[in-house]
Structures are given as structure tokens and as C-alpha cells.
Symmetry: C2
């Protein structure tokens, strides 16, 4: 027997919407939402702690294998929903009718256990969810040891979750260290800390050789790293640019730093 | 004396909206629109063929120098607009009250004149304006010789224009060659053509040494390059990825290829 939801006022639906729209609800209930076939399948594959899943009848028919695996895993917490209810849950322009709730992931990185030859990414005060998600996807692809987020947007924001394309489930991620404590702690562990700056006089990323443990810090989209934030680090590195262009998109700059960091 | 527009039905305002919203209007009138202080200042600096500019009273006061330069350049075609009119023109969530129309740029690249040691980017069937704009910005930053767009979205789409952050005015860009003719033509000029593919068995971008003239081809966001499109090229190159991740965001992949191409 399958559970069916046709009312937009069903408590499970209201819970999904609350988790989707409110950072404080996510923090209080320690859950977040997933929208789309691919990300829900990623969650299944990575054995993420799913607590509920919702599919329209059409989606459950079209993706029968996924529906079956969700039902096996979630039993009474797998729901078939009407098109009207799907419209209430959907945030994307062309919804696929596939949704889930999951418990937030155990993402701690223990500083006293990190390997001294690890390669880390630090994001400081990044605010755009699409940027943060895209950067996490790139960090996963190049194989960083872990990512620290300091004062960034919520990694469980639905737009971050979607943009990571599943990397959120795989990457070691830590959001609890204040920047001013993190950098000295990494230095004490023998990790070379490198600030990404826009400054023609800084050392060139291209010419820098990362050896041993290293961490790269990317700053806010608009304002970058402050002078004092950059000065906390061992090195200041820059992407040398041609012509009159002033800076790159934050996700692009992060990609180039990650590429060199993990080469 | 300054010209003032307070009616949303003013013909100049209607023309702006038409150019903003319609690709065919842009093609027919050979003009496009710019929104935002920075991009309008870029257009002034790069001596782009501006045909009209609009600023709210607040913006003209706050950015008096820019208002003065626009008025000197455009005389009767510089307009102070009301807040209501600005709302009609604005596409961004927090408009700055600065707008302009410009004639489309003379962007031809003459294949028989390109240098045989040039470095080129080819975008094939990219459809997302934000991606295309971001990639053009990166291409400008690393200093490519020129960009060819084949079957992509309109480069004068307002979202492309904004995302380029002024690079549109500087880069040699050519949109008129069909892909199937472009690749053989570049080969005849001695340019090595390299297809960016997602294929674990393809040669690694990281290990490839670009020497002499070279061009990199990036394919559609969702489907990449088709097998036959890739086979037209001299080489197939891939970004080797860790773990189970399948591919990178198109703008990220393009950034890494451009970085290696122009290093």
C-alpha cells in the first residue's frame, strides 16, 4: 500500500515547505530538502539520512526503480503526491515531481586529526548560494581533503544543494570555525595558508608550487578578503589578468585556485 | 538643458524595452541595451557606440561624473528619467537607475588574417546567458586572441552583457561561422583544435602542452559536444575527476581549459 497526499495542507507538505524556505527551521529540525531526480538519486547512492520522499504519480511511473528504492528505504514515509501538491513543493521552473527531506549530514572536520599533507578550501563570507554550490562541486571534482565555510550562506539552502549536484553528500565540510581561529589552527598543523587576492603585486598563482599541506582562502563575491583577513595567511596569491579586467567571478577564481591546489 | 522623461510610454523607453526583450528587435535595429553603472562606464571607457543613456535624478546626482560624460557624448540623447520609468527599464533586483542603448559592436574575426600562433575559444550550442557571459569574462581575463560562438544564445542578451562585466567591449568575438566550417578552416590555418569532452579515456587536459596556435571547443551545458562534433577536432581532452562526480559546470570547465590554453 502506498501513502498518497493530495492536500497542500498536509503536515508533511507543510514541513517540507518550512525546511525549504527557512534557515532557522532547518537548523532547529536538523533537516533539509532535496528537489529533483538526480539529487535524490545521489542521496540514495551516498546513503544520506533521508527522512521522507515525495513523487508525483507520473514521476513514480517514469522512474519506477527510484520509486521502489525510496519505498524500500522509507516505507510509510514515501508518498505519492498530486500535481497540485508538487506545484507547492517545486522551486525550479520545470519540476520533475521528485522531492525528499534528509537529516543534515555529519560534516565535522576534526582539526587535530587532519593530515598535514591535506589540501583544503576555505570560503569566507560567500553569500550567493549558486556560487557556493558550484564551488563545492568543483572542490569535489578536483579531490580536496575538505572545505571550511566561515560566515557563508547556509549550505543546506535548496539552491546550494541543487548546485552541488550531489557533491554535498561526499565532501567533508565544516561550518563551525570562525575564520580568525581557523587560520592559526591550520598553521599550527603545518598547513600553508594562501589568500586569494586581487592585487597585481601579489605572487602569481600560476607560478606558485603547492607542496605538502595547503589551504586556499576565497573571499566574498563583491569585496573579496579584507586586508586583515588576507594578512592572517602565510601567502597572498593572485590570478594575473590581461588588459583592463579587474576580477573574475568568485566561482571561476575558486575553480582556478582549486585546479592548481590539487594538481 | 537636460531632457527629462516621466512617461513610461515615451518612444525612447519603448525602444529600450523592445531591445531588452527581443532578440529579433536587436538584430533588426542593430542595437542592444546596458543596465547598471559599471557596464555603462565600461562602454564609455571602451568607446562603445552608445546611442542613448538614461539616469534617474538620484543616480545622476550620485554619479555626477558619469552623467556629465554621457551628456557630453550624447547631448540630446541623454535623458533624466523618473523612478517609475526606471522601474520599467530595470531587470535586476536592485536597479542603480543607469541605462543605455548601444549599437552592436563590430566583432568580425577574419579567418584569413588570424595569427597562426593565436589562442582561441569556441563555444558550441551554449544556451545559458549567465554561463556565456561568465565565460567571455574569463576569456578576456586570460587573454585569448578571440572567441567563436556557434549556435549559442544571443551575445547581446542583457544577461550575457551584464555577466561579461565589460569584456564584451574588448574581446574579438565572431558569431557567424557554422561549427562544421569553422573547425576545418582553423585547421587549415595551422591552429590545433581541441574538443573538451567528458570521457575518462580521453587525454588529460592537465598533461597536454599547448604549443603554437590552438583552439579549445566547449559544448552545450547539458549534452556537451556530440561524438561527431568532437571527432572533427585534432584532439579530445578531458578534465580528470576524482570520485563519482560526472562533470563540471560548463563555465567552470571552460575556465580550466582557458587557464591551460593561455598559460
Amino acid at each position: 500500500m502506498q501513502n498518497t497526499i493530495t492536500s497542500r495542507d498536509n503536515p508533511k507538505i507543510k514541513e517540507y515547505v518550512r525546511l525549504r524556505d527557512s534557515k532557522s527551521a532547518r537548523a532547529a529540525e536538523k533537516k533539509f530538502v532535496l528537489e529533483g531526480l538526480r539529487i535524490v538519486e545521489d542521496a540514495l547512492r551516498e546513503n544520506a539520512p533521508l527522512s521522507a520522499a515525495f513523487m508525483t504519480e507520473d514521476a513514480a511511473e517514469k522512474h519506477g526503480d527510484t520509486a521502489q528504492r525510496l519505498q524500500e528505504k522509507l516505507a510509510d514515509n514515501f508518498f505519492v503526491i498530486s500535481g497540485e501538491v508538487s506545484k507547492k513543493l517545486a522551486e525550479t521552473p520545470s519540476p520533475q515531481g521528485v522531492y525528499a527531506c534528509a537529516g543534515i549530514l555529519d560534516k565535522k572536520i576534526y582539526l587535530d586529526k587532519i593530515e598535514s599533507d591535506g589540501r583544503f578550501l576555505i570560503l569566507n563570507r560567500l553569500q550567493d548560494p549558486g556560487n557556493v554550490g558550484t564551488i563545492l562541486r568543483t572542490a569535489d571534482a578536483v579531490g580536496v581533503s575538505g572545505v571550511f565555510l566561515c560566515g557563508c550562506c547556509d549550505i543546506y539552502n535548496p539552491k546550494v544543494v541543487r548546485s552541488t549536484m550531489g557533491s554535498l553528500f561526499r565532501l567533508p565540510i565544516e561550518t563551525d570555525f570562525p575564520y580568525e581561529k581557523l587560520i592559526p589552527a591550520l598553521k599550527r598543523r603545518g598547513i600553508e595558508t594562501c589568500a586569494a587576492v586581487v592585487d597585481k603585486n601579489a605572487a602569481s598563482l600560476k607560478e606558485h608550487v603547492f607542496s605538502g599541506g595547503a589551504a586556499v582562502v576565497i573571499g566574498n563575491e563583491g569585496s573579496g578578503l579584507s586586508e586583515s583577513e588576507a594578512l592572517l595567511c602565510d601567502k597572498r596569491l593572485t590570478i594575473k589578468m590581461k588588459g583592463t579586467i579587474e576580477s573574475l567571478n568568485a566561482a571561476t577564481a575558486a575553480a582556478l585556485f582549486l585546479w592548481e591546489l590539487c594538481s
